[in-house]
């Protein structure tokens, strides 16, 4: 089935959910260009410190692209797509800063500032991205779950909806994936 380029995002999402992979090929570039534009503008407004709070980006995009009432399952798919894009943007941003610093410390992303203790809240995005690539070779589904949860900000239920498994499965795969990445990043083992 071919998808006209001007099809509204919401319709694309419905098709995507119905298994129409062509929808994805239209959706991703569309989401990507918009999100990237919003994110750039957003990141430029950030103070030059070494942390980043990218709050609100995806929400802003969502509100921009989707103009009708939509059930949350479709929204979850949308955020799933956005998560892939966000990962690229954030990692690129981190690399850019890293290069700018010429060998300075790794770029860290501030997680939710109010919740996480200082020592736990900074994660090296570039290393995380590398880990995730390795994890994808071992267990593609886990890598996707990390992408949705971490780079998309999706909840357990939304992640479950986006990849079509049960929340219980997402929960334990997520725990396992976090352990794997943790060991890789901090304990030097796989």
């Amino acid at each position: 089935m071919t998808v006209p380029r001007e099809a509204p995002v919401s319709e694309l999402l419905i098709r995507l959910r119905q298994g129409d992979s062509d929808a994805l090929s239209v959706l991703v570039p569309l989401v990507y260009s918009e999100l990237r534009r919003i994110a750039r503008a957003y990141l430029q407004r950030q103070p030059p410190g070494h942390t980043l709070q990218s709050g609100g980006l995806v929400n802003e995009l969502y509100l921009k692209l989707i103009d009708i009432e939509m059930d949350w399952q479709n929204r979850a798919h949308f955020f799933g797509v956005a998560a892939k894009v966000m990962r690229g943007i954030l990692v690129d941003h981190a690399r850019g800063r890293h290069a700018g610093k010429r060998g300075g410390g790794a770029i860290r992303v501030s997680l939710n500032e109010n919740l996480v203790k200082q020592e736990e809240r900074d994660v090296d995005l570039i290393v995380l991205d590398d880990c995730l690539k390795k994890l994808a070779l071992l267990d593609p589904r886990q890598a996707e779950i990390v992408e949705l949860r971490f780079f998309g900000g999706l909840s357990i239920e939304e992640t479950a909806e986006a990849i079509g498994v049960s929340p219980a499965t997402v929960k334990r795969e997520w725990a396992m994936a976090r352990t794997w990445i943790f060991r890789h990043m901090h304990e030097g083992s796989g």
Partner: protein
């Protein structure tokens, strides 16, 4: 590691997680039998998992808060404006509601955010603001109160009263509530609707999921989310925002005209209410069908199915009238509906034999009791019920609870509140003749939000509560007074006084005696002097008087003050010799003067007060009111005389005490003033009028930190008062907490757009150099003032223009106007140091240097400790070239705690900035000392 090996490890780890830790070893032994390498890897994984902590648990992406599943984990602890999000409470089509803590007032609130549906459905921010603005105009016990409409990082939110309780649709029993319960809920809802419709607000989405039952078993209406303001500005816009071709609301509760997509008014709410009442009584809605299409067809065409037989005829008639397909045949609005329900209640009470009274307690003594009470006056029908074997405690501590309003409407509510107020005032006046009696004042009971015996017991540790109800039946009013044990709510006795138009009796006295009798107080002659003071025999006059009192209790909201004046005038036109009516009128006029400084109000206030005392010199409140008037006009000796007279009649007359304290403050007797304020607040800890005066006293004398504390306390007592919030803003501004100040002013404006709120915001803008914004806000404030212009605001606007490039030419004329208005204030009270010091500020700008100096000198002589007066005078001397005098005045202000920050920000003192003496003064630490 190969993917295959990984799958193997995963499966064993998952299974190991599922077994209890103590069984884990034996499980692993079995699962990894003969494969020690695998077991090592598995155990190592489990160990790593335990060290994980919250590693990458939360995402750098702000949670999409509008997604429909568990987002709370991430939002918890987030700060939104002044609120700290605690947890999610629920979500609807338009928004998500969180429980949060207001960090300024340290209270729990509910915060509502928009969902993307809410945001995208029809230009949401406007819609959201509109919803909140409409609902914020409402103030009713059965409507969830809106505190603030705010925005943080583009997220719009509403902060509102946190209602503890259950959503009604989860509470309706399968076969409906018992008739009396359903009726009670229905009356509460109709009362809320009457109030909302009276304010031009239509709910548009009444259904059980928008109603809550509180822990006290009262109904709260939530979510005027689809409400549309019928009157006022933006009417057309409002229509398009909600119409939009969409069918809002829930089918089952939607009126036929709503299903057809036509315009909906109050009668649409009446329909939805009818469906709801049917459901409350029967447990099901009248029309039901499998699809939305079939359901709407049924609602549009099928007649109302008959109600079950257990529904009383009077209620069936109400339902029938609500559910007419033609809106014109329904009740016109909530007010009519409420009246009909209250009439139905009387009928139901009759039929079910007064179900509100505990069984076994029904002993009608009829007229015999009336005689025993000593009200041997023709025309009263009074009967009572006593509980056998009950006895009263020796020391009676009593809270008078709000009387149940069974008449309905705002007037009915004012009547109930006035009754509570007047009864507790009278009982507290006779306290001194009965050592064993202590009465908690009505305003304290109200400000603590106490409406049940349990809450009264908890808040005041009373052992008795007095409550009752007011019902109208034909031309008669029935006032029932009930005494109950505060520990368990057991009714100890009740009495009903039936007042008819045709039989004149001394009503105030009769109602008070009824209560005194329940309390087993034996009344002596001195009691009767108090009880009889200033009353009326005319039912109409008495009712209006009580309503006036009720409105006056909340004088700072809406048009309540005009309502009070209107009722008191009505009362005295019914009864020309009604001293209490005149006393109330005097107080109301005085409040009006306080509010807008219209001096003609002062004359009327004085006249009414004098008349009250002429008729009956034994009315403490009349003396207190006169004292306040004299105090406002600078006749301080006369004021003190009246206050003392009031205290002689009633030594716990708080109005007189705080008036005296204010006179002491005005005349520079600071220690005496503070002492008297403390005494008044000790007598009446929850009296926010006294507290406001105390707070103002502190801030005028440089004790800003204490002022902030007091104003924060007031804002907690009366969170829905725009005046209280604006005062809190001013207090914060004085201690340079500009963010909090701005927030408080904005809250004040959100509750009600008043000049005070805008002036406060403008002050902040001016201090921060945002002159253009400041000018706009001052102008907005002046617009709101109408004819009663404030000279300070005029002067501030003039000053703003003077410091705005290109606008300076507009200043002189405004200064002259300001000086004129200030002159009127000085003419009213020649000892008004505040007005004098401001007039000096204006005169110095229009070249009248000599007169300005004279004003400043006089002001400083009258109020040598008032920091505002000192700073104003300093500015005047500096601008007029007398640097030495200027420095002296500024030093005095600094010594009294005036903040150096504010001095530095004062553009009229820039010429001083280079003066070494001034620099030393500002740098010197003892001059910026903090008050204890």
């Amino acid at each position: 590691m190969t993917p295959e090996r990984w799958q193997e490890i995963k499966e064993i780890v998952f299974a190991a997680w599922d077994v209890e830790p103590e069984d884990r070893n034996s499980y692993l032994s079995a699962a990894c039998a003969d494969r020690p390498g695998l077991r090592l890897q598995v155990e190592s994984f489990i160990a790593s998992h335990q060290r994980l902590g919250s590693f990458i648990e939360s995402s750098p992406i702000l949670p999409p808060i509008h997604l429909a599943s568990d987002v709370t984990a991430v939002l918890d602890g987030q700060r939104v404006g002044r609120y700290l999000v605690i947890e999610e409470l629920g979500r609807g089509a338009m928004g998500i509601v969180y429980k949060a803590e207001d960090t300024v007032l340290s209270r729990k609130v509910a915060l509502k955010f928009m969902t993307p549906h809410g945001l995208t459905a029809a230009r949401a921010p406007e819609r959201f603001q509109q919803e909140a603005r409409a609902a914020a105009t409402l103030n009713h016990p059965n409507i969830c109160t809106i505190f603030e409409v705010g925005e943080d990082h583009g997220q719009h939110f509403i902060a509102m009263e946190l209602v503890n309780g259950k959503v009604l649709n989860a509470c309706i029993p399968e076969d409906g509530f018992p008739v009396s319960t359903a009726l009670r809920y229905a009356i509460e809802i109709s009362s809320a609707l009457a109030h909302a419709h009276g304010h031009g607000v239509v709910h548009r989405d009444i259904k059980p999921s928008n109603l809550m039952l509180t822990g006290e078993d009262r109904v709260k209406m939530l979510d005027f989310g689809l409400a549309k303001h019928e009157r006022g500005i933006g009417q057309d816009e409002g229509a398009s925002l909600t119409q939009n071709g969409t069918l809002l609301g829930t089918f089952q509760y939607m009126a036929p005209e709503a299903l057809r997509g036509e315009k909906i008014d109050a009668r649409g709410d009446i329909w939805s209410f009818g469906v709801l009442l049917f459901e409350l009584l029967t447990g099901r809605t009248p029309w039901d069908a499998k699809s939305g299409f079939a359901l709407s067809a049924a609602i549009l065409t099928e007649p109302l199915p008959p109600c079950p037989a257990n529904v009383p005829a009077s209620l069936r008639a109400v339902i029938d009238r609500c559910l007419r397909k033609d809106p014109k045949q329904r009740f016109a609005d909530g007010g009519e509906l409420e009246q009909a329900l209250r009439a139905a209640e009387v009928a139901v009470d009759r039929r079910w034999g007064l179900p509100r009274v505990a069984s076994g307690a029904r002993l009608a003594l009829l007229l015999g009791v009336a005689l025993a009470v000593g009200i041997a006056i023709p025309g009263i029908r009074t009967y009572g019920r006593w509980r056998y074997g009950s006895s009263l405690p020796a020391n009676r501590t009593l809270a008078v609870l709000p009387f149940e309003n069974r008449i309905g409407g705002d007037d009915g509510r004012a009547l109930s509140e006035g009754l509570q107020d007047s009864l507790s005032a009278t009982l507290s006046e006779i306290e001194r003749f009965h050592g064993s009696l202590r009465v908690i004042p009505a305003n304290e009971v109200r400000s603590a939000g106490v409406s049940t015996y349990a809450a009264a017991k908890q808040a005041f540790n009373v052992n008795l509560v007095l409550s009752g109800s007011v019902v109208r039946e034909g031309g008669d009013i029935h006032i029932t007074t009930e005494l109950a044990n505060a520990a368990d709510g057991a009714r100890l006795g009740s009495k009903t006084l039936s007042i008819s138009k045709t039989d004149p009796i001394p009503l105030h006295q009769a109602v008070a005696k009824q209560a005194a009798d329940l309390l087993a107080l034996s009344l002596g002659p001195e009691d009767n002097v108090v009880l009889a003071a200033g009353g009326t025999r005319l039912e109409g006059a008495y009712e209006k008087y009580l309503q006036g009192r009720g409105y006056l209790d909340y004088y700072d909201r809406g048009n309540n003050l005009d309502g009070a004046i209107d009722r008191f005038r009505g009362a005295i036109s019914d009864d020309r010799e009604y001293a209490l009516g005149y006393a109330g009128l005097s107080e109301a006029y005085w409040r009006k003067y306080e509010l807008n400084r219209d001096t003609s109000m002062l004359e009327r206030a004085e006249e009414a007060g004098q008349r009250a005392i002429e008729i009956d010199p034994k009315i403490a409140l009349a003396h207190a009111s006169l004292g306040q008037i004299y105090s406002s006009t600078g006749q301080y000796d006369a004021a003190l005389r009246e206050f003392r007279a009031a205290l002689e009649i009633n030594r716990v007359c708080v109005a007189a005490l705080r008036g005296m304290a204010d006179v002491f403050a005005q005349t520079g007797k600071l220690a005496k003033a503070e002492q008297t304020f403390q005494e008044a607040t000790k007598l009446r800890p929850g009296d926010w009028v006294t507290l406001t005066l105390l707070g103002r006293f502190y801030s005028f004398h440089g004790r800003y930190k204490e002022a902030v504390k007091v104003f924060a306390q007031i804002a907690k007592l009366v969170p829905a008062s725009p005046v209280a919030m604006a005062n809190l803003g001013a207090a914060y501004a004085a201690v340079n907490q500009m963010t909090e100040a701005e927030q408080s002013y904005k809250t004040s404006i959100a509750i009600e757009a008043t000049a005070r709120g805008y002036v406060g915001l403008a002050d902040i803008c001016f201090a921060q150099g945002r002159r253009a914004e400041a000018a706009l806000l001052y102008q907005k404030a002046l617009d709101l003032m109408g004819t009663s212009i404030s000279y300070t605001t005029l002067g501030k606007l003039a000053q703003t223009f003077r410091w705005t490039p290109g606008q300076a030419a507009r200043a002189p004329d405004l200064y002259r106007q300001a000086a004129d208005v200030a002159s009127k204030a000085v003419a009213t009270n020649p000892h008004d140091a505040f007005a004098l010091s401001w007039r000096a500020m204006f005169r110095i700008q229009t070249g009248e240097t000599a007169q300005a100096f004279q004003d400043a000198r006089l002001a400083m002589r009258i109020a040598p400790d008032n920091v505002r007066v000192l700073v104003n005078s300093g500015i005047v001397f500096e601008s007029g070239g007398d640097h030495k005098k200027a420095l002296d005045a500024i030093r005095s202000a600094l010594e009294r705690g005036y903040p150096t920050e504010s001095l530095k920000a004062e553009p009229d003192l820039t010429s001083l900035q280079n003066n070494p003496a001034f620099q030393r003064m500002i740098a010197s630490p003892e001059n910026s000392r903090e008050t204890p």
